[in-house]
């Protein structure tokens, strides 16, 4: 059973469309596997939509002090040539056909995984390997935020590390465990600099990971492995 969920603030930003693509996709994938969060998202979206399109909402906007109320009122008429825009849009009667979603698979060490549909149009870098870890970077161009698919082969582990920023691990397949317990498919695990952990995967797993800073290995000989931190992140 899924035990780890995105916290409410994240879900709220997700609904508002304010999260980067990396985290938005993570929440969409989690919600696909978690009816509880899916329900919460649906309800919140209804509310946000209702409030956004209520007439009164316009009055609740926070604006610069030097922007007069008159200019707020005139803004729409000035900016939009309504009749012209309607005419242009309705010029063609064509409708958008929606193609059925085609499942995409990805191979890691000859094991084929079905990708979550939220990743369907993302581009992947070449897969690189260190020991039992394989990583394919997802090219999202989000500056310091790096997103990857990380496969751990059975018996593999990531040495004990901490994070300077945040590290999100979304378990797509298989399971792993660390000091805090066992994680299963669908678990949404958000860690920050205050956490140290050493994930081990007995059966192997595939994770979607998002991090905004390199991992930092903290223990003994593993400190020598700090280049791996850059590899995973």
């Amino acid at each position: 059973m899924i035990n780890h969920h995105p916290k409410f603030e994240l879900i709220q930003s997700f609904v508002d469309g304010d999260l980067p693509a990396s985290l938005s996709a993570a929440i969409a994938i989690h919600a696909d596997m978690c009816p509880q969060c899916q329900q919460q998202i649906a309800e919140l979206t209804d509310q946000v939509a209702e409030v956004s399109f209520e007439e009164a909402f316009l009055d609740r906007f926070i604006v610069d002090e030097n922007q007069s109320i008159e200019s707020v009122g005139e803004l729409n008429a000035d900016a939009l040539d309504i009749e012209d825009m309607i005419a242009q849009i309705t010029l063609s009667d064509d409708i958008d056909k929606v193609e059925p979603v085609v499942e995409k698979t990805m191979l890691f060490n000859n094991k084929a995984y079905t990708l979550p549909s939220a990743l369907n149009n993302m581009s992947f870098g070449k897969t690189s390997h260190i020991g039992k870890l394989s990583r394919a970077r997802i090219q999202l161009n989000e500056n310091e935020i790096h997103t990857s698919l990380l496969q751990i082969e059975p018996g593999g582990s990531v040495p004990q590390h901490t994070h300077k920023g945040f590290e999100l691990t979304l378990l797509l397949d298989g399971s792993f465990s660390d000091e805090r317990g066992e994680y299963v498919k669908g678990d949404f695990i958000m860690l920050d600099g205050s956490h140290t952990h050493n994930p081990v995967s007995a059966q192997g797993c595939l994770c979607y990971t998002v991090a905004n800073d390199a991992l930092h290995f903290t223990q003994g000989i593993n400190k020598l492995l700090n280049p791996i931190g850059t590899f995973i992140y």
């Binding site: 969409a28 729409n76 849009i89 409708i95 149009n121």
Partner: protein, 205 residues
């Protein structure tokens, strides 16, 4: 410095505070656009939504032109995708909100990340109904069809395709297993895939 406008306009606009959205009316307009390409209904929708979208977009984009682009793009999507709206699955406001948020999200990614990958519809599907039960059914048919096409390949190419995709052997393992040079395995796989693509492509048209 910022201030909440509410305190300043309470008197002037207090009447509008009680305005409630007429959901059945919005649904009816959307359905009229979907079923009969009704321009009058679309004009009504436009007058209801466009100024609000403009206002909301103005808070997310630095200039007026970009906010207008959000209006233009959102309302064209409403016109072209109205048939995907399903009133049993949610309110018209929720649907238009999703369309607007997706347009905004893709535009912001284009501006900030210089990426035109339009990921929003994968993250927040506009047509939820497309991912219902009949999908697995389609997939099943697809697999069956794929198999028949594979059976039409020359025997030597079939071996490689089946070994690689169904038995999940690596190209190296296949080379050992079939006692062939790795290069041969690779070229057979390439040839087979090209043929499959052509066949499936034709039958999909």
């Amino acid at each position: 410095m910022q201030t909440n406008l509410l305190s300043k306009v309470t008197n002037a606009k207090s009447s509008s505070m009680s305005d409630k959205i007429d959901h059945p009316q919005l649904c009816q307009w959307l359905n009229a656009v979907a079923t009969s390409r009704d321009k009058k209904a679309f004009t009504q929708l436009f007058h209801f939504f466009a100024p609000k979208i403009q206002r909301i977009a103005r808070n997310k984009f630095p200039n007026e032109a970009q906010a207008s682009e959000v209006v233009q793009e959102t309302m064209s999507n409403v016109w072209r995708k109205a048939h995907l709206f399903n009133q049993n699955k949610g309110a018209a406001t929720t649907w238009v909100y999703t369309v607007m948020r997706n347009v905004t999200f893709d535009m912001l990614r284009k501006i900030k990340g210089n990426k035109e990958d339009n990921l929003s519809d994968d993250i927040w599907p506009i047509a939820e109904s497309m991912t219902s039960e009949d999908e697995s059914f389609d997939d099943h048919l697809e697999n069956k069809q794929l198999l028949t096409v594979i059976e039409k390949l020359p025997e030597v190419q079939q071996q490689v395709v089946k070994g690689f995709y169904f038995m999940e052997m690596s190209q190296e393992q296949l080379a050992v297993h079939l006692n062939l040079p790795l290069g041969t395995i690779k070229s057979r796989l390439r040839l087979a895939l090209a043929k499959l693509k052509m066949q499936l492509g034709e039958e999909h048209d």
